[in-house]
Amino acid sequence: MTDYADGTVVDGVTYHQHDVVIVGAGGAGMRAAIEAGPKARTAVISKLYPTRSHTGAAQGGMAAALANVEEDNWEWHTFDTIKGGDYLVDQDAAEILAKEAIDAVYDLENMGLPFNRTPEGKIDQRRFGGHTRDHGKAPVRRACYAADRTGHMILQTLYQNCVKHGINFFNEYYVLDLVMVEVDGVKRPSAVVAYELATGDLHVFQGKSIIFATGGFGKIFKTTSNAHTLTGDGVGIIWRKGLPLEDMEFFQFHPTGLAGLGILLSEAARGEGAILRNSEGERFMERYAPTIKDLAPRDIVARCMATEIREGRGGGPNKDYVYLDITHLEPAVIDAKLPDITEFARTYLGVEPYTEPVPVLPTAHYAMGGIPTNVAAEVLSDNTTVVPGLYAAGECACVSVHGSNRLGTNSLLDINVFGKRAGNNAVEYALTAEFIPLPDDPAKPIRELVEMLRTSNGTERMSTMRKELQDSMDRNAQVYRTETSLVEVTKVIENLRGRYKNVMVQDKGKRFNTDLLEAIELGFLLDLAEVLVYSALYRKESRGGHFREDFPTRDDENYMVHTMAYLTGDAHSEDAGDHIKLETKPVVVTRYQPMERKY
């Protein structure tokens, strides 16, 4: 056991010491850094330049019951979040989310975020799916927005404020391991190990507290709104350390991805009045959700679209998509409020949204599950035990404020509320804690992994294996699932696990070796896809984003519980049953008893 002063180089590994180490520079990581940075020595480590993070791709808005344009209050927001999550939401956490939303928006505005404005000069708000007045009576204007680039503005504003505070960034450093050390019988985080893209060198970042804010893992699917870099490295590291993952079966499929591409078209379009139509031109959502129609939550809309297509009412030559129609909106309104997404339709599909409906299809969008935390953003090692000094926030975490289906605009909210909490709590912890001494050569496992991959003579193409995984996930674990389909994808993963041992890395160099990193990322994708599918097999009911055709109704008697997946053996053995154990965790219910979910 040892410690190295900041900047020490031993056997080619550079050692760093910071009070707070933040992994990930998206919304949650940078929001945490703004709290921690001014109070303690803080490092933010990111596989990308911070402004490339996928928070920047979020479009529609950030929910908060400001009541700037009509009556609203945080209690209604809490209820909508719980109902939207099909009652798998921890209600104490949802209450915090909705209450703290209001200050979270004002914080951002005060930091400089250029929200759209009302005629009185206040922050403007618009409608979004599942957000309603008085417990479901009608849609309410709750989403604070900046055109259809709200996420871009949040990411830029947070980065700008990090520049203002002189936050120390390590850009294009891939964190590949978390070093846990047993102290008095309790495993505690000591450091993270990072691979520097530019040089291929390894770095050990020792931190008194460590925050994971590493985002999602949508790249387990083929059709996804997620960036190429969203490979779930952070969640995968936590899993490999033997810490549990919660509710992994719940993945959100956003209804309106550009057909064939998966690029997101914001729900804000429907918030501004866009209508989904089938091949007959029918506004089909009226049949499924008579009160709020096209503004039903995403899980419901995505399933309705899939049903329309299955029943032969899809559009196009192969009848395999539906249409998003905004042709009845004024071009001036479209230009002011939806400029980016209309540009996407023009650029990528050659469709003019002023005059033509846009072909759309559900696209894998958001992981509701992830690293279990309490409302203080502390990571849990079982249903209740905190891992001292380890925090998680944002999409990688599961608090759980989203339950089995997240409402639109609640993720930009989540990263701000729980990113801030993580930052505050981590810095408070770090100010009284000591460094946990490092084990000997803490970078050894990663050095061996990197060298093995870089020098191997593997023959299996990484891209081929990844495509097989993604194709199978789209075919078998998407909007509709059955036991048969899920078993099929477990077989695909088993097969890929075997072949992954023989993965080919063509680039043998050290500098900017993205070939090597893509191979490592595929390992994380396989791990997370496996946990997702294994958890989905266990949940023999339909709830929120998880729809089992063989068990099409919600079963509160048996499944009104969170799924907790534990790694019990070699994470890379072929048969999932050898190394995954599933347990459950009670849902926190405060004031809302589960009801049938109608809109």
């Binding site: 400001l66 005060n110 930091m111 206040k122 680039r149 299955r310 030559p317 160099g509 500098r511």
Partner: protein, 252 residues
């Protein structure tokens, strides 16, 4: 029970989507192998909807894993994949192959004016250093209880420059930036503009002083390369002109 999903593969009866073969000329430079950058050609089979990014991925994934470029979101919002495509700065993920003349080879190389690291990857640090120098963050002394009030017109005044994704397509298309490594470059000025014309900000005079420097806004020769290069459609040259005017005549 059926396991079909909305993404089922098309039935066999359907006609296959036509493909075409394109020659991609990529400016190769692997610092651990090559002395100098050189052009290397790759033939790639593509679909009409494919982007230049898809072509590069096909090369990397199927032919040469050492081909290196940055990319993330793949739909023009993260700013990772600015590169020179047929001599013009563009985002690879926003450039459709069908919009290029594919009867001839398509030339792809790194953006200019920043140190070349490997293939299409350049060192972005000098670019971000210029950005940081213009104090790109809101400076306001008041601490309101709620939001600061800003009219829709005041908000519209700087809307265009809030679109910037810091991809460096503008800065690295600027001939002044190529020859004078000290010039702030269009992107830094755009990001200064975003705050100079924000009614809530109180530090515009500080930023205008910074940009009035010899390496600042006066180096701009109004060649409009930057406006043409911007993948977000920002009127970059106009923003620079507005900053020049603000230095001379005050903010309007």
């Amino acid at each position: 029970m059926s396991t079909a999903t909305v993404n089922s593969p098309p039935a066999p009866a359907e006609a296959p989507i036509p493909t075409f073969t394109v020659t991609m000329m990529v400016r190769r430079f692997n610092p651990e192998v090559d002395e100098e950058p050189r052009w290397q050609d790759f033939d790639v089979e593509l679909y009409p909807t494919d982007r230049v990014l898809d072509a590069l991925h096909k090369i990397k994934w199927e032919q040469d894993g050492s081909l290196t470029f940055r990319r993330s979101c793949a739909h023009g919002v993260c700013g990772s994949d600015a590169m020179r495509i047929n001599g013009r700065n563009r985002l690879a993920c926003k450039t459709l192959m069908k919009d290029l003349d594919i009867t001839k080879p398509v030339y792809v190389e790194a953006i200019k004016g920043l140190p070349l690291e490997k293939y299409l990857v350049v060192d972005m640090e000098p670019f971000f250093a210029s950005y940081r120098e213009v104090q790109p963050f809101l400076q306001a002394s008041s601490k309101p209880e709620k939001e600061r009030i800003q009219s829709a017109e005041q908000r519209a005044r700087f809307d265009d420059t809030t679109k910037c994704i810091l991809c460096a397509a503008c800065t690295s298309s600027c001939p002044v930036f190529w020859t004078d490594g000290q010039y702030f470059g269009p992107a830094a000025i755009v990001n200064a503009h975003r705050f100079i014309f924000d009614s809530r900000d109180e530090a515009s005079s500080v930023r205008l002083d910074i940009l009035n420097d010899k390496e600042g806004v006066w180096r701009c020769r109004t060649t409009f390369n930057c406006s043409e290069a911007c993948p977000r459609g920002i009127q970059v040259t106009q923003a620079i002109a507005e900053v020049k005017q603000a230095i001379m005549f005050g903010k309007r």
